[in-house]
Symmetry: D3
Subunit: 328 residues, 6 copies
């Protein structure tokens, strides 16, 4: 069985008469629950999946890895071996072996890519450019404030998605979206001299940092307790305030920077605490909106095949998108 | 002229052929602006008013009190003497004398009552009961957190209105509305044992404290810079967080207390940062809603005359209110 | 087979390799339809279920109980025996025997509880307290009006749910919600002296009585023809009007009582005929809203398990609810 | 002064230097209130107007007609004589004489027309056609039900406007709108054979009869107490139910007829108690909508002058209307 | 196998133990896609269906009709023979033979009726009446404009549905809805003399002609590229403009006719380019609304069985519909 | 009198006791209507104004310039001389002389600036840059299409405001807004390689060209008949289509270019005919939104005085704007 090529969930579901056929896969343990069968025996109900799909299966109390699997945290990556089986007409393989991946194995090229969607740009070079953008903020205390926040949350920020659904909803998506907003702002700043460049750049880099607390789970993202009870707008405001005070940022700029975080969602019904009421806050919320919408366009174009003319309807655009290239 | 009875703005406007008639009034200096007449001379444009109305008039550069008046802060209470006059058909008296009221004069019975609307209950006894309510919070750190906030903002809180327009929009209105919510909660707590009394009481007493920063101007209320840029929800959250940390409130309760403040407005489009997601937060937002609506009812009934059957349409109720007593 | 323990639908669905396994259950006959198979023979398509789930199966024309089952009204409770089977991957047991439960059997402790969700408080003691609340209405004709309505609809009211989905959507839910509103009102009345206690109490007890006509089916609730064509607001108004006239309630109070019924839903888009326009109507609609929301909280807490941190998203609260106890 | 031609309010306001100029007018006493001047004397504050405008003036305690005027009900038609005067730049004539019009004078041709807007069709002939439409309802009990309602409310119905603002908002407007709907229905019935003609005709004739109770004031219309507390939908339902029971209309048709009244407003937020759920109710609400919109078009075209190209923006159409004829 | 009676998809799904049972059906090839199995072989994934339902199945590379089937356009009608089979619990028959229907076969009575829903009126006689309606437009250039449009799009218009979902969503539905609107308009025109008959009739006949371009696929309807990128309102406007200019229609009428097309959807959020702002445009949009709603009623009544009391909830009416006849 | 300095309307209104005081002004004749006084004589009712305000006055039949003034088109610029006077408390000067300005006088520096607000950038240099932007569109037929449209409408486009109210609502505002969008697009294009530069640039330059037809009146802007009946989205689409066909633009690009115009308003309720469904259309609508919002910010900052902290509430931002510079 060690020689089996790794199969994705899509592969497993596509096979037509698969009962009993052996397979091996690298999968994410999305959910694990302990239940009691009608005969009184405990069993584990598992949800396993990767980028291409998800299935449910059970692991009974007499399985040699019952206790080890029960102890795995949700969101673990595991190597799974077993045989295809079906229950009530749905894929529900019998599992022979579950081995959690080591950090080293997860770091191997391609390992994470099959489990979760990744940002298309290289994460390392984005992170380098991101840090250079911080270093280039002209105003000293605004730069120090920004630096301070990312010293606290940098590692989480690097891998965090920009959303659970909707735009840039994949690993490194928050880094990608934030960096693209900074690039757009740098391109636009000469045209809007009434906005302060330091405030705009710090505001963009920091506006969504509350999402590093709102979301949790490195591979399988969900809203955390703090995320549900406070929301990323207030959490980001709190982060910015803490590091602004630490960097002795003057009260006027601190208030304007906090305001960018509090208002960047645009409308209260989309989560903004207040409407944008400074030139920089209006500017940042518009650039956010532009890159969020264009991020949906880019992801849809990446996923389109050569024969597609339109995508499925995209809720964020309220429309299908024409994905065929001009002149084709 | 010192013997003149004090006239309200409604009195001044009711008099039919008043040109030249002397008068004296205690008024609020709502706005003061420096303008330049077409002859190049500077003059002050003043807006003066009391509970019953408002008028505009000018004070020219050669008036003996020109400089003193120019220096008065907006929102000052002044004793005014002059003669009735009209410009473009509107009341615009010629002012002979403007004397700012001393603190002692403002404290005299009836002085403030004529300038601004007051809560109907006695402010002193409400304040005493309010402090007793704090002292009765069972949980030590929640009580200390609440006490800490009111040591910082107590004086402002006592006089603050609960709103600029809408419900409890008058001096001491915030104290009155908060106290009435606490009374309602105390009456209801035995019926809803799943909510924690300490958390509910602290949450109610603190939920609107951000309004002491959102609003400014003791007699003439307007939104402050902080109020526009952050909103009372975030400002109150910040106050609560600071004093919760100081009182070493445990992280679980602090998060739940902050959540009550962040969610009490009910819906994001009404200003809530997040939807209520704990039993106590749902309870507080419902009690807030109940007393806010009943506060509109009570104020409307107070203002009704014996011959009224219905009030004007109340925007907060989307209806006129039947103000005639049962059986009359 | 008589010795088989009774299995719930959740039990039947959990069993993994169940084909042919015998079972017995007490179930609700939710739907029964006559169809014709492609061979021209008639068969019954049955939907059966209990509190824990639902399944579909067929009963063919040659089954000894074909005619008896065809004649059963939808919503009947039946004892079912048979063997597990599956069709197209879904549970579809072969039924050997269907026996309708007698009234006596349904009245046995536990019988109804497994079929439908019940209010958590004891129905008998709630009903006693409810009647005492009627008797305690101070105003004679208001009390007689209220008494009159419940003499007409009392039995139906006792078991009616407060909603089909949403809050208090279970057997006795309407009695429970109405009683809890009355308790809340009694606790709050001393704080709001401008509302008339008799009118508020009668208004609360009567506000939702139209639902006894809007809904039908003792065990499986659906909207009746009258419910679809008129709605519970108008139906309740009609009930109240009839008994108010009978009790010779004075025209002023009758109009105010009818208005409470017509306006209690709050907003026309939620079903109110008019906006609340009397002090008592505003008060009742606010107490209704408070207890409806708290009812969702209470039911969610009851259904939570010890390991749950948050509930699923509750549509009525637009949020998940934190169900973990403070300090756990 | 008896020889003075009658002037409209528009005439009185157009005159440029009119102080002291004598005039005579037939006006509506819209509001009358007793006030106390700052000298302690009582005076009456009057609002007087006609189709063309409105003004305010005072009548002092020493005026010979002070007591008689104070006793006039609001909405009375009066003959007024006096001299033009202005207060605070607004027309505020000195009144010499106020004489209430007798019923006979009001009935004179042209008298009412100058005070309030009238339906363009002749009221008498509309009323004749309306009664013939009742008599032509084929189904006996539906015809008797309809006849019964109009025996009770006929006189009020004849003069009632169809709305306070919006469509057909003028004397006889309700009669006109209802009759036009009946004509439209008669024209359309052959095309929609699935709707029952008797039910449709009775439903149309009766759908808005609650407005005869919702509105009050023959010449100056406002919502009555019953109108505010119950709304015309419920009031009309009550009327129809009473006369349907009296005419022994069968339960099925009565329920369908009541449903037409309860649902004709279309959407709950526009006042419908329920959504239309029978073929006849859908049909009646659509015909209502069509004639209401066309009524706004017709009134706007009547009021347009030859040189107008577009009307003002009409709120009911969310647009200006092109009033120029084709080819002009 | 040629003797097999034709089975509908509903028949195929109803059969309980069907594996291996032969069948023959006339079906619509809704979707066809080429996929690669995990063994590297290509196969076709097919979606087939008729009026009564839909199923998916695969056709492998070694099937004799693999290439012929791959080349069939989506929306083709095919005669299918094969044996029942199931995959993952869902119907997934093994296909032995697929034969595209010839035009002649499709034209046979009953062929299309089983594949797609049809308008209830006879298409030929509707088309004759439709053309007579064009010929009866009094104004020459308006008649020529209308005639011109239907010379271009007539064949497509005849079979086009009036919608993909919602009202008149079936073959010939657009013809039926347009013709019924014309009949209703002719019946109503004498009652609304302020609208121009020629403009109204031309406007009605032309208002939805853009749908012949917005939708594509004779048997399986979907929005075309032009439909997604421009919408039927603009496409219809373009058609009308082209033929209006060709017919030398005067500029005033052309603008009013174009305006009817641009505004007939009523509200911008329903797709209108502008609000109706001429008498004729208001009239046409109201008649459109009336017949669209009545079309939903008629279709629901047609589909109801004798024992139904209410239909399912109809999204277009926001309600269930009472389908039981009066007095039954 | 020729020596009088020119006074603005704000100057005229500020003067306190001005009756009889001579003045001279350059004003816009906003409205002129012929009325009949109660003495039967005709007079002109004039509305005159400039950037700073507006007043009404009358010109009687015996005035030497009565006929000449009656013949002036609305929107004419006139030199006015007269004496201050008041009617009903409002400025209503007696006019001695009205002289229409010649084209040459209007072209003098400062003439138009006092009458209407101007874009802050120099119109000539904006126009030069605009034409260079057209010339730099890489794709030949897209450039020719764009060139063709501006050859037809260039002069009107140059002076047209971008809106009647809201953003860039001043002379040359449409040129300014369009040019700024093009600059922003050029800065952003390298960051969004999936959008086609030629299509984006042509789309931006053309997206609002329908406004040159939707608005009319060089100095006093209002919606034209075509604007009300068709809207600028459809009018611009028509312009683009005409010149695209003329320039033999390929069908694919023409459809995409038309789609940009049809979708640029973002949401149907804001006037879009369809939702943006191509990468370029999403991009253009986002850049449009960004520059529209920033245009409101820029105009508000220009109008702020040194002592202002916040602007008035801006409807387009749903907020007041902080206009104080950072650190002041």
């Amino acid at each position: 069985m060690p020689d089996l090529p790794l199969a994705t969930v899509r592969d497993l579901k596509a096979v037509e008469i698969g009962t009993g056929r052996p397979f091996a896969s690298i999968l994410l343990l999305r959910k694990v629950g302990t239940k009691t069968a009608s005969n009184g025996n405990a069993f584990l109900s598992l949800e396993l999946g990767d980028r291409t799909g998800t299935f449910n299966t059970n692991l009974f109390g007499d399985h040699p890895q019952f206790e080890a699997t029960k102890a795995l945290p949700e969101g673990s990556a595991v190597r799974v071996e077993g045989k295809l089986d079906y229950f009530n007409g749905r894929l529900s393989p019998k599992l022979a072996k579950l081995t959690p991946l080591t950090e080293a194995e997860l770091a191997l090229p391609g390992a994470v890519e099959n489990l979760v969607e990744l940002a298309p740009e290289n994460a390392e070079s984005m992170w380098t450019e991101f840090n250079a953008t911080i270093d280039a903020i002209p105003h000293d205390e605004l730069r120090m404030t920004t630096r301070g926040v990312f010293e606290e949350i940098g590692e989480t920020f690097r891998v965090c998605p920009a959303a659970i659904a909707m735009h840039h909803a994949y690993r490194h998506g928050l880094l990608e979206h934030t960096l693209r907003m900074a690039r757009a702002a740098k391109a636009l700043l000469p045209l809007y001299p009434e906005v302060d460049p330091s405030l705009v750049l710090a505001g963009i880099l920091l506006h969504d940092t509350g999402k590093t607390i709102e979301y949790e789970g490195a591979l399988a993202t969900r809203r955390s307790r703090k995320g549900i009870l406070q929301g990323h707008v207030v959490l980001g405001y709190q982060l910015v305030r803490k590091h602004g005070l630490k960097a002795r940022l003057d009260a006027d700029r601190l208030e304007r920077l906090e305001h960018i975080v509090l208002s960047h969602q645009g409308e209260p019904e989309w989560g903004a605490a207040v409407y944008a009421a400074t030139p920089e806050a209006v500017f940042v919320s518009m650039v956010d909106n532009l890159d969020a919408k264009m991020g949906m366009v880019q992801r849809t174009l990446r996923q389109a095949t050569d024969t597609d003319e339109f995508s499925e309807r995209l809720p964020g655009l309220s429309s299908q998108l024409l994905v065929r290239k001009i002149g084709e």
